[in-house]
C-alpha cells in the first residue's frame, strides 16, 4: 500500500472520529441547553403565522390577493 493510501486511511479514521466527536458533543450540549432553557427560560412555543387570521381567509380570496399582488409588483417594479 502506498504511503498516500496510508495517510488517506488515517485521515478517514481521524476525520470520522472528529465528525462523531463534534456531533456527540453537540447532542450533549443540546440536551443540557434544552433542559436548562425549558426549566429556567420557558417560552411560549414560537408560532410565526397567526392561524386565526389565516384560516378566516378562504382560498379564493387568497388567490385574488395573490393575483393583485402580482399586478402590483409588475406595476411597481
Amino acid at each position: 500500500m502506498t504511503e498516500q493510501m496510508t495517510s488517506g486511511i488515517e485521515l478517514m479514521f481521524t476525520g470520522m472520529g472528529i465528525v462523531f466527536l463534534f456531533l456527540i458533543m453537540l447532542v450533549i450540549a443540546i440536551n443540557i441547553m434544552s433542559a436548562l432553557v425549558q426549566r429556567y427560560f420557558p417560552d411560549i412555543p414560537a408560532s410565526k403565522t397567526v392561524p386565526g387570521i389565516t384560516a378566516d381567509i378562504d382560498k379564493s380570496v387568497v388567490a385574488a390577493i395573490t393575483a393583485a399582488v402580482h399586478q402590483y409588483r409588475k406595476k411597481h417594479n
Partner: protein, 375 residues
C-alpha cells in the same frame, strides 16, 4: 478586404477548438438538465451558462479583463460560498433537530461517504494516467457532503482546478438523490422497519433556537476552528432568522443577497469548466467517485439508524438515516416518500429534517477536518 480577413480571423468558426466546442455542449447539457429535468436549476443554470460563456473562443470572458474572471474572485476569497451558506443558515429551521437531538448522529454517520470516496480517489491512482494528490482526493471526497457551498468552498481552497467538475458533480448528484437513494434504502431495510412510525416531535421554543447557533459556534471554536468560517456564517444566518429582531437582514440574506450571489457563484464556477481542466480522465473519476460518495453516505446513514433503533427507547425508522447526507430538503422528501409507500400513515418528513440539517453541520465539520489536515 483586410477588415474582412481580420474579421474572419476573429470569428468563432475560425478559432473554435474541439475542446471548446465540447465544453459548450457540456454547458448546454447542464442547461437542459436544469431547465427540462429540474436538476438544481438555481445553480446548474448559471453554471451551465458560465461554462458556455467561458468556452466562447476569442471573447476571453473567463480570462483577465472578462466578467467571469472578476466574478471568480468571489470564490477565490471564499466570499460567495460563505454568503450562500449564511443565506442557507437563515432558511434553516433547527426545530426538528432540537426536538430529537440524537438524530444528529445520523448526520455524522452519513459523512462516511466523504472519506470513503477520498480513499477511492487515492485508490484510482493505481490506474495509469490518473494522478490525484491528497488535496485533490479531499476535494473530491467533499462531494459526498451533498452540500454545494461546502463543496465549492473546500475545492476552491484545496484543488481549484477540479472546482468545475466537483461543483457540477455535487449539484447533479443532489438533484439525482431521488434516483440514487431509494434502491440503497430499500436494500438495507426490511418492510417492517420502513413501517416504523415515530413519536411526534415536541415544539421547540424560540429561546432554544436562538441559543443553538451560538452553541454550535462555540463548540466549533473549541474543537475545530478550521470549520469556523463555514459554521460561523451558517450560524450567523440562522441566528439572524431565529432571533426575530433583525427580520429585514434575515429576509435580505435569504432572498436578494443569496439570489445575487447565486448568479455570480454559478457563473464563476462555470468559468472553471474549461476544456483543459474538464476534458481529462480525472473528470470521469470525479463523476464516478461522487456517485459512490452519495451511495456510501446514504448506506452509512441508514445503517447507523438501524443501530440506533436497536438501542433507542423510542422507535427510529431507519429510512431517516438516509437524510443524513444533507441534500436539504430533497433527501428528507425521499425518506418521506418511501415511508408513505410502506405505511400510508407514516409521515417522516419532520423526523427526516433533523438528520437532514445535521448533515449540513456534519459535512461542514468534515470540511474543517480536511482543510486543517490536508496540506
Amino acid at each position: 478586404m483586410e477588415n474582412l480577413i481580420s474579421l474572419w480571423h476573429s470569428t468563432g468558426i475560425y478559432n473554435f477548438t474541439g475542446g471548446q466546442a465540447f465544453m459548450m455542449l457540456v454547458g448546454f447539457l447542464l442547461l437542459f438538465l436544469a431547465i427540462k429535468k429540474g436538476f438544481e436549476p438555481l445553480l446548474l443554470l448559471p453554471i451551465g451558462f458560465g461554462a458556455i460563456l467561458s468556452n466562447i473562443p476569442v471573447a476571453g470572458i473567463a480570462e483577465e479583463g472578462g466578467i467571469l474572471y472578476y466574478l471568480y474572485y468571489g470564490i477565490k476569497t471564499g466570499l460567495f460560498p460563505l454568503l450562500i451558506f449564511m443565506g442557507v443558515g437563515a432558511m434553516t429551521d433547527f426545530g426538528p433537530m432540537l426536538a430529537n437531538p440524537k438524530t444528529l448522529l445520523l448526520g455524522a454517520a452519513a459523512q462516511f461517504g466523504i472519506f470513503a470516496s477520498l480513499l477511492g480517489a487515492l485508490a484510482l491512482n493505481a490506474i495509469p494516467g490518473l494522478e490525484f494528490t491528497l488535496k485533490d482526493a479531499a476535494a473530491i471526497g467533499i462531494i459526498g457532503g451533498a452540500d454545494g457551498p461546502t463543496a465549492i468552498y473546500v475545492a476552491s481552497k484545496l484543488s481549484p482546478d477540479l472546482l468545475g467538475a466537483i461543483a457540477v458533480a455535487a449539484y447533479s448528484y443532489m438533484a439525482l438523490v431521488p434516483l440514487i437513494q431509494p434502491p440503497i434504502m430499500r436494500a438495507l431495510t426490511t418492510e417492517d422497519e420502513r413501517k416504523i412510525e415515530m413519536q411526534q416531535l415536541r415544539v421547540v421554543g424560540k429561546t432554544e433556537k436562538i441559543v443553538f447557533p451560538l452553541m454550535l459556534l462555540v463548540i466549533c471554536t473549541l474543537l475545530l476552528p478550521s470549520a469556523a468560517p463555514l459554521i460561523g456564517m451558517f450560524a450567523l444566518g440562522n441566528l439572524m432568522n431565529a432571533c426575530g429582531v433583525v427580520e429585514r437582514l434575515s429576509q435580505t440574506a435569504q432572498n436578494e443577497l443569496i439570489n445575487i450571489v447565486t448568479i455570480f457563484l454559478g457563473l464563476a464556477v462555470g468559468s472553471k469548466l474549461s476544456a483543459e481542466a474538464f476534458l481529462q480522465v480525472k473528470t470521469l473519476g470525479i463523476l464516478a467517485l461522487g456517485a459512490i460518495a452519495f451511495s456510501i453516505g446514504t448506506a452509512a446513514g441508514v445503517i447507523m439508524a438501524k443501530i440506533m433503533n436497536k438501542f433507542s427507547s423510542t422507535p427510529i425508522n431507519p429510512l431517516i438515516g438516509a437524510a443524513g447526507v444533507s441534500a436539504v430538503p430533497m433527501a428528507a422528501r425521499v425518506v418521506n416518500k418511501l415511508g408513505l409507500e410502506s405505511n400510508p400513515h407514516n409521515f417522516l418528513l419532520m423526523h427526516a429534517m433533523g438528520p437532514n440539517v445535521a448533515g449540513v453541520i456534519g459535512s461542514a465539520v468534515a470540511a474543517g477536518v480536511l482543510l486543517s489536515l490536508v496540506k
